[in-house]
């Protein structure tokens, strides 16, 4: 008798899909959360004029005069404070810099903080100008607000990459560990189900949701902030597909032996936290020291994000990012290979 119920691969994949769509919380984290994040960060960093620096001037000889002259500058907000209070605000980050009048004037700030460095330049400039400095060359400004070069344009591809990583690891890893924990894997092992089809069903189900989760963020970015898609959608689809395969493979690897949800959560964080930090989701990895760059670009999420940005923002062709895709796919293949060997069914 031929089976009237569809093949096992279809049934296993349907199982994964049903498990997911019947869990409203999971739907929120996969579809709504990245959009909320993009919206919040997009608002915070878009449509902002030149930055205003907050500083304190220490009360003392000449202090009030210095305070008044600095505070009158359009891009400086100054407060006049007693020495210890000014110091307290500096150390808690409420002001970026403390200025002390005198000859020479003293600027106290933490050079490891970028807003403090900015404040130093702005305040120095203001003091020099107020003291009668004349600029030797004229500078003309042009502010760039074109789509494609703003923070939100940088952010959206990063969020898509982060989402592919997160859902790949969680979607595959969490489900497997729960089934192992519930002795369901062992029950499946007692049936003639093919192990490869079980693994494949996890990956296939991921592909089904990928369309929605990437599409939602792309569309949102485009409608809300005008984030451009300069390369072909087909190229983006190919990159996203490769990324999702790879992170499903890593999810499979992470879940291949863990027995408990706590155990697998720890492993996931071990894998994901370095990528959150280094892979250029929220800020460019060029901020890290040069010596780290060869390692950073070898991380799968970095390669995925770089490829996505190149195609989305610069309109690069899929062939030009082939090297990046090879890095992504290499991680995926290696993870699948190791996971298949290590996988524990009970």
């Amino acid at each position: 008798m031929s089976s009237p119920v569809g093949g096992p691969l279809l049934q296993l994949t349907l199982w994964r899909i049903r498990d997911f769509i019947r869990e409203p919380e999971a739907l929120f984290w996969v579809f709504a959360f990245p959009i909320i994040l993009a919206f919040a960060l997009g608002l915070a960093f878009s449509s902002r004029g030149p930055a205003i620096v907050r500083i304190a001037v220490e009360d003392g000889p000449g202090g009030r005069q210095l305070h008044e002259s600095l505070d009158s500058m359009p891009n400086i907000m100054s407060v006049l404070l007693a020495g210890d209070e000014a110091q307290r605000r500096l150390s808690t980050g409420r002001v970026a810099l403390v200025a002390v009048a005198g000859e020479p004037a003293l600027l106290r700030y933490d050079s490891t903080r970028s807003e403090a460095n900015l404040a130093r330049l702005v305040v120095e400039n203001a003091i020099q100008e107020a003291s009668g400095r004349r600029d030797v060359r004229e500078i003309r400004e042009q502010r760039v607000t074109d789509p494609g070069s703003r923070y939100i344009d940088f952010l959206i591809p990063g969020l898509i990459g982060m989402n592919i990583m997160g859902t790949g690891l969680w979607g595959v890893g969490y489900g497997i560990v729960r089934q192992r924990n519930h002795k369901l894997l062992k029950r499946l092992l007692a049936s003639p189900m093919r192990k490869s089809q079980y693994m494949l069903s996890h990956v296939l189900a991921r592909m089904v949701f990928l369309v929605g989760e990437v599409g939602a963020v792309l569309l949102f970015g485009h409608l809300a902030f005008g984030v451009p898609v300069r390369g072909s959608l087909l190229s983006i689809a190919a990159i996203v597909f490769t990324g999702a395969l790879t992170f499903s493979g890593i999810g499979l690897l992470v879940a291949s032996r863990a027995r408990t949800i706590e155990g697998v959560s720890g492993l996931m964080n071990l894998v994901m936290v370095p990528m959150w930090i280094f892979s250029g989701i929220f800020f460019a990895y060029s901020n890290f020291p040069e010596v780290l760059h060869p390692f950073i670009v070898a991380i799968p999420l970095t390669a995925l994000n770089d490829a996505l940005r190149a195609v989305m923002l610069e309109g690069t062709s899929i062939f030009a990012v082939g090297g990046l895709l090879a890095i992504v796919a290499g991680w995926g293949l290696a993870s699948f290979g190791v996971a298949l060997r290590m996988f524990r069914w009970e």
């Binding site: 008798m1 089976s3 009237p4 119920v5 569809g6 093949g7 096992p8 279809l10 049934q11 296993l12 349907l14 199982w15 049903r18 498990d19 019947r22 869990e23 089934q179 519930h182 002795k183 369901l184 062992k186 029950r187 092992l189 007692a190 049936s191 003639p192 189900m193 009970e346």
Partner: protein, 309 residues
């Protein structure tokens, strides 16, 4: 066919220094319902999982339907159905979806509707598993095992934790499978279950079979069909050695102040006991008699109960 459904020789399984299965031999015929009865930790689950090819034994040989796991795993998996202890099926699938998925793993089997009817879950077919009662979940687990119309059905403590009515429903399903010629290997620590369902029972303790036979044979091996239990207000007033000389008494055992007499002719033993108690002036605080059960067999073999209650 002449060969056995299941045949094991010298099975051994160790977990570290603990020997879970200790040189166990087992022979189950086709069409037989065979039960392994024993307390928790006796090695029943380890044995049934080795036979199902889920665990590798440290020593010994297993053949199922005349085939070995090494050479015929895919075929054997097609021909057996199994219910494992403590399996939690996917909570957010419906009953029908779950059975349909298991059906898809097998080349041959019965229609999903038929198996749902067999286990009386038609009305629940569109419910999520998370909404089912314990008895319904267990019937679903058996449905997933029956959907391939197996030649052998493996059940590992199928009714543990169920209420009496759910237990009886499950027994009916297993009996019906047996009547159609199916072979069943089940483990249980309920002696009623073994007596009700099994053609033959192996009593298992410390990884070994300590008695084997039909429930009737095993009970007959006590040499007595009845048990008289009584307790005295003053336990010291009658000695065990005197009780053993009463007519028809085969065996005397005292446990927590209650005396258990295994007796052959209850109509002779009870009047004699009453006479003895009257002579000694001892007063009964409690007394009952019942037919001997597999529990009494286990008790007389090991001095322990099947369940620690």
């Amino acid at each position: 066919m002449s060969e056995s459904a299941i045949s094991c020789r010298g099975l051994v399984k160790r977990y570290g220094s603990v020997v879970a299965v200790d040189g166990l031999d087992l022979e189950v015929s086709r069409g037989e319902c065979f039960g392994m009865l024993g307390p928790n930790g006796a090695g029943k689950t380890t044995t049934i999982e080795i036979i199902q090819g889920l665990l590798e034994p440290d020593a010994g040989e297993v053949r199922v339907l005349g085939l070995s796991w090494d050479s015929h795993e895919p075929e054997l998996r097609q021909r057996m159905g199994s219910q494992l202890q403590e399996t939690k099926l996917a909570e957010r699938l419906t009953v029908r979806e779950t059975v349909t998925m298991f059906r898809s793993f097998y080349r041959e089997g019965c229609a999903v509707d038929d198996v749902l009817e067999q286990v009386q879950l038609q009305e629940k077919q569109d419910s999520w598993i998370v909404k089912l009662s314990g008895g319904q979940r267990q019937r679903l687990a058996v449905a997933c095992a029956l959907v391939c119309t197996p030649e052998i059905l493996f059940l590992d403590e199928p009714t543990t934790g169920l209420d009496p009515q759910s237990r009886r429903q499950l027994w009916e399903i297993v009996s019906a499978f047996g009547k159609d010629g199916g072979t069943v290997l089940l483990t249980t620590h309920y002696m009623e279950e073994a007596e009700q369902l099994c053609d033959r029972v192996a009593i298992v303790d410390h990884g070994q079979i300590i008695a084997l036979g039909s429930p009737q044979q095993l009970i007959a091996s006590l040499g007595a069909e009845d048990v008289v239990e009584f307790a005295l207000e003053d336990a010291s007033s009658v000695e065990s050695s005197v009780l053993a000389t009463l007519p028809g008494v085969q065996h005397v055992r005292v446990e927590n102040g209650t005396v258990h007499l295994t007796v052959r002719r209850v109509h002779e033993a009870v009047p004699a006991l009453m006479e003895l108690l009257a002579q000694r002036g001892a007063r009964l605080s409690e007394m009952l008699t019942h037919h001997a059960t597999l529990e009494d067999v286990f008790l007389s073999l090991t001095g322990r109960h099947l369940r620690d209650e």
